[in-house]
Structure formats: C-alpha cells, structure tokens
Amino acid sequence: MKYSVFSLARNALSGHKNWQPAWRSPDPKPEYDVIIVGGGGHGLATAYYLAKVHGITNVAVLEKGYLGGGNVGRNTTIIRSNYLLPGNNPFYEKSLQLWEGLEQDFNFNAMVSQRGVVNLFHSDGQRDAFVRRGNAMRIHGVDAEILDTHALRELMPFLNFNDGRFPIMGGLMQRRGGTVRHDAVAWGFARGADMRGVDVIQHCEVTGIRREKGRVVGVETSRGFIGCKKLGLAAAGNSSTVAKMAGLELPIESHVLQAFVSEGIKPWIDNVVTFGVGHFYISQSDKGGLVFGGDIDGYNSYAQRGNLPTVEHVVECGLAMIPSLSRARVLRSWGGIMDMSMDGSPIIDKTGIDNLYLNAGWCYGGFKATPASGWCFAHTIANDAPHELNSQMRLDRFRTGYVMDETAHGAQPNLH
C-alpha cells in the first residue's frame, strides 16, 4: 500500500485498524540470485537499489537481529558531503543527492532535515584547512561557505565565544547537510525493497559461507543452508567475522563509538555543529533531545557499549563549546561497533572470490553514506564491476598504496 494523505484518511475513517505491516516476514527460499548479509541501512539500501535500478528482485537480506537494531539505529543521524578527497567527495555528494529525493523515492517519511552542518575552527591553521576543504567541495560542485564569527553569533548565540585559548574564529557551513530519522531509513528501505519482491529475513544469522570450486554457492545460517548466485557482505561492525567465513582477512578493526541524547528541551540548536578543538558534534532532534557524540573509545571492541572515560571526554568537549549544556541532563547513551579501516575510508569492491562482494570499513561515517553505499554496492554486484563513484574504494588499495586518508593519520584506526 502506498502511504499518502488519502491512505491516512482512509485508515483514520476505519479507526486505524487496517494498517498492514510495512514488510513481510517470509521464510527463506532455497536459493536466491543475490543474498546480502546484514540487514542494516547499507544492506537494505543495496537490496532496494538492486530491485529498483537493476531489476534484480530475487534477493534476500539476512539479518541476525532485528531491523534498526544495529548501527543504522546507533548513530547521531547526521548527513553531509563535506569531504576533501576526490575518491570520497563525489560519492558522499551522490549520497546527499539521494537523501534529498529519498522520501518520495521510497514513499516513507524519513524526516530528512537539511538544517545545515557547521564545522567550527579555532586557529589560523585550522581556518586554512577548512577553507581548503570548502574549496575542494566547491570544485566538486558541492555547496560550502565560510561563516565569520558575526554570522555564527547570529546563528548560534549559545557557543562559547569567550574562550581565550581556543577562540571560535568561524565555521565551514554546508547548508544542504543536516539530519535524518535513522530508524525510518531502515524501515523505508526495508519496505521499499520488500514491495519490489526482496525477502527481508530477520533473526537469521549467517554462520558460514559455503564454497565449491572457489565460487560461493550459499550461506549456512541459523535457519539452514540458503543458496545464492552472488553474495554481498554488508555487515559493518562484524565485517571481519563474516569475511573470515570466506577466508578473507580485512584491513579493519572493530571499535565502539558512543552516542548520547539529552532530555527533551525546547528548540535551541537549529543546525548540526561540530567542535574544532576536541571531537564533538551536536544537533537537536525533532523531539527536543540534544543528540551528540565524540570520539571512539579507542580500543578494539565488539561490545555495543562503551566506557566512562570517553563519556567524560565527550561531555567536557561539549561544555567547552556550549557551556550552557551543563544545564541539560543526559537521558540515554548507546554504543555501536564501527568497522575502522586503515585509512578511514570505506571499501565497496569485489573480493578476489568470483561472486563475493564486500561493503565494509565505514568507520564512523556510515550513516550519511547509506543511500550511495547501497546504490554503488548494488551496481557493483549487478554489473560485477564497481561504479565510478566507488572505483577508488578498493579492497587492495592498502597493498598498492592508493589509500584515501582524509586525516592523514596512517594505518592506526583508533586515530581516524
């Protein structure tokens, strides 16, 4: 059923008793053309675009938990395309363009809100770096502007403009950036894929990858063997674990990233704003909660929870940037497991095994990439070749030296 004002009215008249589930819960078929391991945002988006763009509908998405329970529901909901490097920027800009039309495209309200993303800078050197990044964005046709302190005071009077050691000197603004309701992204893609014939199978954990004569023939799961002609891995957080089932060793470490939300308060912070001294980013949800986060905890972890030193560090950064945050109380915190790659950039590529494809290494930037990741991964699987947009997100780039290291930290994932 298409969601519209008419379907709303029709269901209102019948007391809202006739709404149907947004997607089916089918039993797995014996074989599919394509199986995607991981029913997160990227896996669901991949299935959606496989069906919609490439007409491949005999597809299953296997999710070990429930939809929205993984990283797609464990982020700070920010979307943006303010990247520097040529291999990254056009990809993230494609993603932002897909976000812009997404709700009409998959007929689901994902509450896409282009409220603007501002990165503050606090020194001459940092201003130079951000001007350079803004110029790189504009060369790629992406919107970017530098705001001075006067404009910032108008926009964000709550910032600490009196910090003598790290004065706010301005900010890099991308007005088309913003936030999206993250659960609705999972639900919208799941429903859109399901409507086109994709089987979204929850509580189905992949425990092995079966190969014959080198090729993948299917997966062992908690619900039995399921055959496939092509297999796509989109299990970020657990990419290494899943890839090991096919004998692949990845340039990835799993780390925990925490995020926080405060009690709901009146509208206060209109944009997304990031701190340039420490690592801190904050926005306000439509419910009123302040949604914020900072660095990863720094140690390898598969636990979806973090530790107190990082909580303290994040809150200290927040208070340094917005002193009045001290009046708000933290309501909830959560942790997600990040695929931290060796250069801070993701991997969407073939694997060296004929019909096995890999989507991994999203670090803590995967949410904004969801639509383009699915779009490019679907293209890569359908055509057995990467799209130009993900042509530099290669698995072998660490061996060849063509890394995409936005922050130039080198192969030390907890610094990216």
Partner: protein
C-alpha cells in the same frame, strides 16, 4: 570492563592514561625489500580483529611510559592479564627466513604458548 588496567609498574589505573597501539600478535618483518612487501602490507594493514580474547600493545603514556601487553576480551571487556611488553617472546624482531615464512599464521599459537609459559590462566 576494560576501565581499570593493572599496570605491572603503577598498579590499577584508568584506561585514559594509556595509548592503545593495537594487535600484539603482529610480527614486524625483519628487512625492507621487494621480497618482504607482502609481509609489510600484512603487518601494517591486515588485522585478525578477534572477536573474543586478544592481546594488544598498550603504552602507559600517563604513567610509567612503558609498553605493555594487555590480554582482554573484546566482547565482555574483561581484562585477563597485563605484562611488560619486554617480557614477551614474539616481540623480538628477526630477519631469519624461517620467521619470514612463519609470519601471519602464527599469532594464535604464540598467544597460547605465551600464556602457558607464564602460567596466566583465568
């Protein structure tokens, strides 16, 4: 939880005093050259990324400034053992051909033998 680390030199200290370098099972190739480039790639970029018990290099930057090997669980965050990195057998570098060919596939065995040697079981 991996919140408190029992430094062999300083006693119980919080994790934020430490810089975490990562996987201690990696073996540094002994020489630089075309014949060892694959080993270098492996050493620098590829990780076992163990889900469960693992050993890592931690630097006590906020304390004794010594390199330590922390054995802990990446799922439960339980810390099993902390020892000076200098006491650790696989840490030595070597350019012998035997070690070159043994690189990469040995970490699990090394971890076990190290634990057994020191009798640290928990």
């Amino acid at each position: 939880m991996a919140y408190l680390i029992n430094c062999p030199h300083c006693g119980q200290r919080t994790t934020d005093e430490f810089y975490i370098k990562g996987d201690a099972s990696k073996q540094r190739p002994g020489t630089i050259g075309d014949d060892t480039m694959n080993q270098w790639h492996d050493y620098v970029h590829i990780r076992d990324n163990v889900r469960g018990r693992t050993a890592e290099h931690w630097h006590h930057t906020g304390g004794c400034r010594q390199w330590l090997v922390v054995e802990r669980d990446t799922v439960s965050h339980e810390v099993y053992a902390v020892a000076p990195a200098s006491s650790r057998t696989p840490g030595k570098t070597s350019a012998t051909p035997a070690r070159k060919s043994a690189a990469r596939k040995t970490p699990a065995r090394n971890t076990t033998s190290r634990k057994t040697a020191r009798g640290e079981k928990k």
